[in-house]
């Protein structure tokens, strides 16, 4: 266990020893500030900082930015090791390939969590500056729920990115395919929504905020437990494909 956490620390340092790692955080801070300024200018009134934050961290606001930043940063996590040749030194140590890959995936999940926590703090600070500190229990609940849905949404797409990165060994191709999926997935689901199989499409299920009170699910008849089950199956398949490929592949 200790040896595994040291592998995760290695992966974390590989991310954070680059100065470019600051870019997603800067963008999210800028997002919070710009979003706050925009709703203020439009004359929206919020009773408290938490009420603002609950809106700003929702899937239809921060959810349009954060997952993309996570995908762009995580694409190349494995393929860059191949490109730089460091994969050779990584794989000739006394650790199984499973463990090496699992440590990378764990670091990716930790990175997503850090992005979400950072965003939560950024929108709360913005909200407090503009509308003052405070908020009702309902707002805090909504913030928590949004953060959880954001984590699930981003994790599903990052897992997909992770798999494409391993299969293609090219970070450029990976970013392209993954962003295309995020952008077009919803549209494709919409076009296919008259068929009943559409509810099994990954993209119909990724955004769990569709089950929030007052929202309509993408396809009638879908429920929260159903979508969660579908997502679990997809994530398991993506991980299976990733690990099997990574284990078997000759490094030449």
């Amino acid at each position: 266990m200790r040896s595994f956490s040291r592998l995760v620390l290695n992966e974390w340092l590989k991310l954070f020893k680059r100065s470019s790692i600051l870019v997603p955080y800067v963008i999210l801070a800028a997002y919070a500030a710009i979003f706050g300024y925009a709703v203020f200018k439009m004359g929206s009134e919020f009773g408290s900082g938490a009420e603002f934050a609950a809106l700003a961290i929702g899937m239809s606001s921060a959810g349009q930015v954060l997952p993309l930043l996570a995908i762009i940063t995580m694409a190349g996590m494995v393929s860059k090791e191949y490109r730089m040749g460091t994969i050779k030194l990584l794989l000739i140590r006394a650790h199984s390939r499973n463990k090496i890959l699992a440590s990378k995936y764990t670091a990716a999940l930790l990175f997503i969590i850090s992005l979400i926590l950072f965003t939560a703090v950024a929108v709360l600070v913005t909200g407090t500056v503009v509308y003052g500190w405070g908020g009702e229990a309902a707002h805090w609940n909504e913030i928590g729920r949004s953060m959880l849905f954001m984590f699930i949404y981003t994790t599903v797409y990052v897992t997909l990115t992770f798999m494409i990165d391993i299969l293609t060994k090219s970070s450029g191709v990976t970013v392209g395919i993954a962003l295309f999926c995020v952008m077009m997935g919803g549209l494709a689901t919409l076009l296919l929504s008259k068929y009943s199989f559409a509810k099994f499409i990954l993209f119909a299920n990724t955004d769990l905020s569709q089950f929030n009170a007052g929202n309509e699910p993408m396809i009638p008849g879908m429920t929260l437990p159903f979508s969660v089950s579908v997502l679990i199956v997809y994530v398991a398949l993506f991980l299976l494909a990733s690990f099997v490929t990574f284990r078997k592949r000759d490094v030449s």
């Binding site: 040896s3 040291r6 592998l7 620390l9 290695n10 340092l13 590989k14 020893k17 680059r18 730089m84 040749g85 460091t86 050779k88 030194l89 990584l90 794989l91 000739i92 140590r93 006394a94 650790h95 199984s96 078997k248 000759d250 490094v251 030449s252």
Partner: protein, 326 residues
């Protein structure tokens, strides 16, 4: 802790003299019906430097990558320090330190940060050991510089530091002198000899630099088209003195000289060239003084006497066919 490690390794070094640390057993790699490596077997003992030689495309890189588990084996097995690479990879690989092709690091990290990455991947590598290996390769002053600012020679040395960090039993180097200048090559050679001797590490080096291998290795394994074609020991300190050797003589009178030698009956005449005044003989080491005396007594003037050494390159060409370039 450090003291204990030292004592252990010293004890091991004593008991493990000439123990086989790396053993290839009928190893093959088949891709698409083509045998890239075909039933290869050889071994490396502790304290010896073995060269893996072969023309381009002979399967050197594939062989080395199979040893370290980067490429799977189709047949056969590799044993490192007694553990099988295919069955118990983690136990086997912990005895290996390697640089496969170029030493590659995370360029945006410092040398020290890179070594710490490897430290975290192995149990029991102390800060002290990091200082030890960096001092050994002479990089103390560059440890806080980013690797992207390193020269190729510095990266090679950091590569060696990385490979030795966990005190392996076997060191594997793929083309270690690639891109080094002559001083760097010489430094690398002396250094490898030192660690083979002092730390009793078995070293496997692949290269196509024949003259370099001749100076560095105690044994060479020659492969071609994935097959073993020769294993040859190289004696550096003239331990073959007792056996017979070939000599080239430049004399005033070839005919008189050859008659004298025939009468002496201690040397076998290999060839003679009357125009250039040269002749070649095969003679035992201890008979050389009497040969010289006999020639002088017979009135043959001797300008020059030298040993004809067949270089590794000559033999390599013989083995692999002269039309192939190494």
């Amino acid at each position: 802790m450090v003291d204990m490690n030292k004592r252990n390794s010293a004890a091991e070094a004593r008991s493990d003299r000439n123990e086989t640390v790396l053993q290839l057993d009928n190893v093959s790699k088949i891709i698409g019906g083509k045998k890239l490596v075909n039933g290869l077997s050889f071994e490396v003992k502790s304290g010896e430097i073995v060269g893996l030689l072969g023309p381009n495309g002979a399967g050197k890189t594939t062989t080395i990558r199979m040893i370290v588990g980067l490429i799977g084996m189709s047949e056969g097995d590799v044993r490192i320090g007694g553990s099988s690479v295919s069955k118990s990879f983690e136990a086997a690989i912990r005895h290996i330190g390697a640089i496969i092709e170029n030493p590659e690091f995370y360029p945006y990290m410092t040398g020290l940060d890179n070594l710490k990455q490897f430290q975290r991947m192995t149990e029991g590598v102390s800060e002290e050991r990091i200082r030890e290996v960096t001092a050994l390769v002479g990089l103390q002053d560059a440890m806080n510089k980013k690797v992207k600012a390193y020269s190729l020679g510095m990266r090679q040395r950091l590569g060696i530091a990385q490979a030795l960090l966990h005190k392996p039993k076997v060191l594997i180097l793929d083309e270690p002198t690639n891109g080094l200048d002559p001083a760097g090559i010489r430094e690398m050679r002396d250094y490898l000899k030192l660690i083979a001797d002092k730390e009793r590490i078995g070293i496997l080096v692949s290269s196509h630099m024949l003259s370099e291998m001749e100076l560095m290795c105690s044994r060479v394994v020659v492969i071609q088209e994935g097959k073993l074609i020769a294993v040859r020991s190289i004696n550096h300190n003239g331990s073959e003195e007792k056996s017979s050797m070939s000599l080239s003589l430049e004399v005033t009178d070839v005919e008189l000289a050859s008659r004298t030698l025939a009468a002496l009956n201690k040397a076998e005449l290999l060839s003679k060239d009357a125009d250039r005044g040269m002749l070649a003989v095969k003679v035992k080491h201890e008979d050389i003084p009497s040969l010289v005396k006999a020639l002088t007594d017979a009135g043959v003037g001797l300008y020059r006497l030298e040993e004809i050494k067949s270089s590794l390159e000559d033999e390599f060409m013989k083995w692999t066919g002269a039309n192939r370039s190494a």
